[in-house]
């Protein structure tokens, strides 16, 4: 009954969440978050709503729910971590932070499945990661991934493998070269009559680019494009060595210890070079790095982490602050989708669209319900195949409804999820990061010569 502590099956209550009671209290149970939640909208079970999950966390803190219970394990695991609930929460509940702490409590009470553990181990180690992505690139370049997507079928292991390979195959570079160069003669020159597009602005600071894990392994071209477009907009781009994975995947999975270890490495690496801005082109990584201060709350590192977080910017934020310069036309239509970790976690919505506006000839079509998660959420499609497929299927349908040539979204996880969904339906499934389009536009404009 109300407020009566129960004896826990799993021994003592894990401390991580308990220490965060203050963070749970702002929730007044108003329910405004329910309609924003992709899992609640599809399942209708309040345990699968943000309010319900917060209530489960509170019940654990109050000692009346066992963190190893099916309710706590299942419903926290089922959260996508999209943080759409934070955008609509009038009380400012820090759901994302609470979720990470709750997952740490959950994983202490019950070990996560071997697949998730293996993935976090691989991403947390430079050597294993290099090997893993080398294999990935081999599968991609030989076309084995594509063949497998076409040949494999069914549910269970084969279905999961097919989805994983579709995600891999979705990382293929889109053929931007083939898209038209000009709608009319000199159209892009006229767009730059004020001269702003022809000369870079005065130096606007030094910037170091986060390479990331998936970005570095499968999307190196986006990291290169990030550096080039920054340079073309007057930033002094410095190489930052000895950086590492941002730790977002580990934090989301409840492994806060590894997340802090990786964060520390990045803080040290960027401090060593001494840049004004830490530039991130992956929404998930940017959100995590802007919250390094929270990750180290109460630790001796906290102040340093906060100072670091203050320098973190999404590539679109930085480019918009400097212009960006307008490039040459790339005639194509794109279906744009907001990554949750840009829109909901960082509050960045207009900037990526402003970056696309700097590319003449691009017809940007924002997909319906662009504020809802695509279902990517790390490897959700493999850990929750049924629900993941429903959420992903709705997003793919919305993308296809635009009739655009390409899908476009500034986060590797979303690019892979949407690309995989399109490919599994037999569509071409080309997905680009806005920076790739800007980069193509700058190449055509001759800014790199």
């Amino acid at each position: 009954m109300a407020g009566t502590p129960v004896t826990l099956k799993g021994g003592s209550l894990a401390g991580a969440l308990e220490a965060q009671r203050e963070r749970l209290l702002p929730c007044v149970h108003c329910g405004f978050c329910l309609p924003a939640c992709p899992t609640y909208n599809r399942l209708g079970d309040e345990n699968d709503s943000p309010r319900g999950r917060l209530h489960l966390m509170l019940a654990v803190v109050e000692g009346r729910l066992d963190p190893s219970s099916d309710a706590f394990q299942t419903h926290l695991d089922r959260c996508l971590g999209c943080r759409a609930c934070e955008t609509v929460c009038p009380s400012g509940v820090e759901y994302g932070t609470l979720l990470e702490l709750a997952r740490e409590t959950a994983t202490e009470a019950r070990r996560p499945d071997v697949f998730s553990r293996a993935l976090l181990t691989v991403m947390g180690s430079r050597a294993l990661r290099a090997l893993f992505f080398l294999g990935g690139r081999f599968m991609r370049v030989t076309g084995l991934a594509n063949v497998a997507v076409r040949r494999l079928s069914g549910d269970g292991i084969a279905g999961k493998l097919r989805f994983a390979l579709a995600m891999l195959s979705a990382t293929e570079e889109a053929g931007l070269e083939r898209h038209g160069r000009a709608s009319g003669s000199g159209a892009w020159v006229s767009a730059a009559d004020d001269g702003s597009s022809l000369t870079p602005s005065p130096p606007v600071g030094s910037a170091g680019v986060l390479h990331g894990c998936v970005q570095d392994g499968l999307y190196a071209r986006i990291n290169e494009a990030t550096a080039r477009t920054l340079d073309a907009n007057g930033f002094d781009v410095r190489v930052v060595t000895r950086q590492d994975c941002c730790g977002a995947l580990h934090a989301h999975g409840g492994d806060l210890t590894t997340a802090r270890r990786l964060a520390l490495r990045n803080i040290e690496a960027f401090e060593r070079v001494g840049v004004d801005w830490v530039v991130v082109n992956a929404a998930g990584c940017g959100a995590a790095m802007k919250e390094y201060g929270v990750l180290f709350e109460g630790d001796a590192m906290e102040e340093r982490a906060r100072a670091f977080s203050d320098k973190v910017r999404d590539i679109s934020e930085l480019l918009v602050s400097a212009g960006p310069r307008v490039g040459a036309p790339v005639e194509c239509s794109v279906a744009y989708d907001h990554p949750c970790h840009l829109m909901h976690a960082q509050g960045v919505t207009a900037e990526p669209l402003q970056v696309l506006n700097a590319v003449p000839g691009v017809d940007v079509r924002v997909v319906a319900k662009a504020d809802e998660c695509c279902g990517g959420a790390g490897i959700y499609g493999m850990t929750h195949p049924d629900l993941g497929a429903r959420i992903g299927g709705d997003k793919v349908a919305a993308v296809r409804d635009t009739g655009a040539d390409l899908a476009c979204t500034p986060n590797p996880g979303c690019m892979m999820q949407i690309g995989a969904g399109l490919r599994m339906e037999g569509a071409s499934g080309e997905v680009v990061h806005p920076i790739e389009l800007l980069d193509q536009s700058y190449q055509r404009a001759g800014y790199y010569t």
Binding site: H29, G31, F32, P35, N47
Partner: protein, 463 residues
């Protein structure tokens, strides 16, 4: 202690709605132990989530046959504990009944399932130039089924009236699973007694509405929104009285006090109210363009004459939405000030507002409680927000005593114990303040007509 459901009953329910949509494990029932009123917590025996009228009918038939109590639940945003479970009851939730069944733009009617969110209906009817008028502060989350049960109001009900004015037809599943239809096709009271009118506001005690036909309104041609800033609540209260008595017909007049302004401005929905103001009035006029500016000017004069420090006008639709957001999200924003919150709801004659507000402030001081006020000033519908911490047992008791005193005060000046949140569990004890024994007995008998066994939402409204 919550009783578990007999396995055979649970199996029969699963056979009707599917195994994923019957929740019986005690750990998973924790999430359902409160609605928007968190002062009470009781876990139900089970939660059933049907999808169609037929499923609701079969579910209620089974539960009725077993003599098990039923607690209907929409989005669980209610503030009077109307969806609070009983430990021997089963929640029948409408979360999955979220389809808009039809929009008839010619006749300006829509038919929806009860789980459709209020704001979603307005969004869906926008392409036809129509909207659904009742706009509870929780309209982004609350459902039409819940609106019907509570006869919900909202800021614009000052001019447009509450839910009962818009519901024209209902398909209702009775306690024993029988399906009946009231009204329909816009003719709610055409034949016989007005059962639609009786059902709306029945707080889940008469049946579960599974199809709701509502009237839609054409969107107003123009709108003017003003923000009046005052040093004191009393000055703002005088401005309200002056505006209404001058013959103006605002669509909404909302008042927000200092404590609320501070909370809202600290939240993500900051509306740009100056945090040093003692009170703010949000005044809105809508209708045909001609005359709107005159109305707004006259209201501005009323504010200035009552001592307003400043009167602002929303210059764009964006500014208007931002201004309203600050008012509509006030409840959630209170979470920033205190761990728990009790949103009271009472109505007083408009002319008595200044003295009642002053007295509520005194009551807060007497009991050592912080009370923030945000409410529908135009129709005298008060929402004192009492801030507390449930861990403090002494404070919890003071909240209850202060609540009772506020209710007694409102009744003593000719008001009543609720404006729009319903009686639920929270106001049940105050019913004798406004009803004598004969009236209470009439309420019980009306309930008996619909639910002779007393299985639907027992313990709510009247005992």
């Amino acid at each position: 202690m919550t009783q578990t459901l007999v396995p055979t009953v649970a199996d029969r329910l699963r056979a009707i709605v599917g195994s994923d949509h019957v929740i019986t494990q005690p750990d998973r029932l924790v999430a359902y132990e409160s609605d928007g009123l968190t002062a009470y917590r009781v876990a139900p025996r089970a939660v059933v989530l049907p999808e169609t009228t037929e499923q609701v009918s079969k579910v209620l038939e089974v539960l009725h046959g077993e003599g098990i109590d039923v607690i209907p639940r929409g989005a669980g945003t209610g503030l009077s504990g109307g969806a609070l479970p009983s430990s021997d009851g089963v929640i029948v939730g409408t979360a999955r009944m979220n389809r808009i069944l039809s929009i008839d733009d010619q006749n300006r009617l829509a038919t929806v399932q009860p789980g459709v969110i209020n704001a979603r209906l307005t969004k869906a009817t926008e392409p036809y130039g129509l909207y659904y008028a009742p706009d509870p502060a929780s309209q982004s989350a609350c459902t039409l089924g819940g609106n019907v049960a509570e006869n919900s109001g909202g800021p614009h009900c000052l001019k447009y009236g509450v839910t009962s004015r818009y519901v024209t037809g209902l398909t209702v599943v009775m306690a024993d699973g029988e399906v009946v239809r009231f009204g329909g096709a816009g003719l709610e009271a055409a034949a016989g007694l007005d059962l639609v009118g009786l059902f709306v506001g029945s707080e889940g005690c008469f049946g579960i509405a599974t199809e709701i036909e509502v009237r839609l309104l054409p969107k107003a041609e123009g709108v003017r929104t003003l923000l009046g800033l005052f040093d004191t609540m009393a000055a703002a209260g005088h401005a309200v009285t002056d505006i209404i008595s001058s013959g103006l017909m605002p669509a909404a007049v909302e008042i927000v006090d200092h404590a609320t302004i501070v909370a809202v401005e600290a939240s993500v929905f900051a509306a740009g109210y100056p945090t040093d103001a003692g009170a703010a009035l949000v005044i809105e006029f809508d209708g045909t363009e001609a005359g709107l500016d005159d109305d707004a000017n006259r209201a501005e004069q009323c504010c200035l004459a009552a001592g307003a420090i400043e009167v602002r006008r929303a210059a764009s639709e964006e500014e208007r939405i931002g201004l309203w957001k600050g008012r509509k999200k006030a409840f959630g924003a209170m979470g920033r000030i205190a761990p728990d919150l009790l949103v009271q709801d009472a109505t007083v004659p408009r002319t008595r507002l200044p003295e009642v507000l002053a007295r509520i402030t005194e009551i807060g001081e007497e009991y050592g409680l912080n009370i923030a006020n945000v409410f529908h000033a135009g129709d005298g519908n008060l929402h004192p927000n009492i801030l507390f911490d449930r861990q403090n047992q002494d404070e919890l008791e003071r909240v209850e005593r202060a609540s009772r005193e506020i209710m007694t005060l409102c009744v003593s000046v000719g008001g009543t114990i609720t404006g729009e949140h319903g009686v639920g569990i929270d106001k049940r004890g105050y019913m004798p303040l406004v009803h004598n024994e004969v009236e209470l007995e009439m309420l019980r008998r009306a309930r008996w007509v619909f639910d002779p066994g007393g299985n639907l939402n027992p313990g709510k409204v009247v005992q």
